[in-house]
Amino acid sequence: MNRNYNLNSLWLSLLIMVLIVPLSAGAMEMDDCLGCHSDAEEVGEELFIDEDKFTHTVHAEMGCVTCHESVTDEHPDDGEAVTNTACLDCHEELGSEYMATTHAENATCSDCHNPHQVHGLKAVSRQDMNQQCSQCHEGSDVLESHTGWLPQADLHLAKLPCITCHTSAENYEIVLNITHKEKTTVAGSYPLSKYADLKEYSGEKEIQSLIDINGDDHISLAELRTFNRNPAYANLHLSGTMVPGEVSHDLSTLDNRYDCTFCHASGPGSMQTSFLAFPTEDGAYRRMTVDEGAMLDTLYGTPNFYMTGSTRSASMNIIGLIIICGGFIMPIGHGTLRFLTRKNRKH
């Protein structure tokens, strides 16, 4: 009995060792890797890993050796070449979608995405998304090719990520970013606010509390209004953009994107779903849901987000209609009396 117990406990401790040791070794290993690779002077620019950016990616959660399998404890003294796993091993669907495009002939995955810094679509800003494209596509060329056919091409290019149109994603979401005024010109310019910029406003509190007053992780129209009216935040403005609802790597332009009403039409459900993206400490973004239809509020919901045909407000339409109808009072009212009294004017 006693012997059995000892045997059992021996097996158990062996089992625990088998299970835990590799995990702890793996965790240790990432620290070991970064011990050298986060120092550009030690490993050189090419092998440098920005620790702050890497540790916040999903890839970091998997540890270094998941992708670089050949690395041993003796690295780099063993002289073994370090293997890189293929992106498509995990990202099979997106990868094969991309490989079918003409883009694939010119750029590999890592030409656009740095696997040690990459974030998901929902955690990046419009600029982050376009940064990939602008590595090859010159801003002036892009503007020129769009100006020929797209009204307000400069505005479209400044406000939208390229993949809003150059993608096969069918659904869009409205994402609001906080911007702050910078006195570079008389009227000021409005770059996207970073975590530190907003921390100056929120102080001790979390930056989300600037808008999400009740802390329910959701932004109501009333909270948006309060934020926009608050004189203390006079230099903070919400800037809206449209991003694809899901990630697609088919970068072709669908024909319907040339039809302006694909976006500029207030059909059912248009402009209803929106999010506010708060910058996080590590340079990414965290989205928070916003009340349905807040984009349609005439003045105080999102004063700087307006899309012709899409964000028209119903109350404004009614006021407009009343004004136009008012224009017919004179012809109809006066005209009727004029007709009834026509005999008085016969000389």
């Binding site: 409005y190 500029h264 700087n304 012709t308 045909g309 964000t311 008085n344 000389h347």
Partner: protein, 231 residues
């Protein structure tokens, strides 16, 4: 010879609307109708598709807006610097404000129905009655500049972003542009209707086309004229 003939032809007429004003008027009228239709399609693309694609509606709206803004500037330049009658024609005088407007309102809404004559007799120096002056002052000096200016801002959102935020945001600007446009559209039926209140329904409209208006008959010669003269 031709001049003499013309003089004879117009001997009981006065030259009320000089040619630059007439060109401006009809260009403006055509522009505003175009802006109304294209603007309606831009705001309600799923209901109004009169002008084909949304893009063509936008290009047409921008072009018509540009034409109206330029013709407005020429109109302003003509009256201020060439004819030099802007202040005289468009700014109501103290007299107009004190009694003129009331007299004109009384005519349009009461004595007109009794068959009295219009108390105001248009001359090239005083084309508009006191009521017209006030309405046109608001339209030409407040609404038209504001609607044009907001339109210019809305077609240059990216370069003028900072200024737009300063004036209260894009939505305020778009809302202002829309409501001003509605007010100008509302003025159209009133304007066209009032234009039919001449001695014949087409008298004023013909004047806006030819420039000539029949001279007022002498007040003493008509029954109603007596009433006007006796006041």
């Amino acid at each position: 010879m031709a001049e003499e003939l013309q003089d004879q032809e117009h001997q009981h007429q006065i030259y009320l609307q000089p040619i630059p004003v007439r060109i401006w008027h009809w260009l403006n009228a055509f522009g505003i109708v175009t802006l109304t239709v294209s603007g309606a399609q831009i705001r309600f693309p799923e209901y109004i598709t009169l002008l084909g694609s949304y893009k063509s509606a936008i290009y047409l709206h921008n072009t018509a807006g540009f034409v109206v803004a330029i013709s407005f500037s020429l109109w302003f330049f003509y009256y201020t610097f060439v004819a030099r009658t802007m202040a005289n024609l468009y700014v109501p005088k103290v007299e107009d404000l004190k009694s003129g407007i009331l007299r004109q309102v009384k005519f349009y809404f009461l004595t007109y129905f009794l068959g009295w004559e219009n108390p105001h007799h248009p001359t090239p120096e005083s084309k508009f009655n006191p009521m017209q002056k006030s309405v046109y002052l608001a339209i030409m000096f407040v609404m038209m500049p504001l609607v044009s200016l907001s339109g210019i801002f809305l077609t240059n959102v990216d370069p003028l972003r900072g200024l737009i935020v300063m004036v209260g945001g894009l939505k305020l600007l778009a809302g202002l542009h829309f409501l001003l446009a509605c007010s100008l559209i509302a003025f159209l039926p009133t304007h066209v209707y009032l234009a039919t209140l001449g001695r014949t329904p087409t008298e004023h409209i013909k004047t806006m086309w030819t420039g000539w208006e029949d001279e007022e008959e002498h007040g003493e010669e008509t029954e109603t004229g007596d009433l006007v003269a006796s006041r």
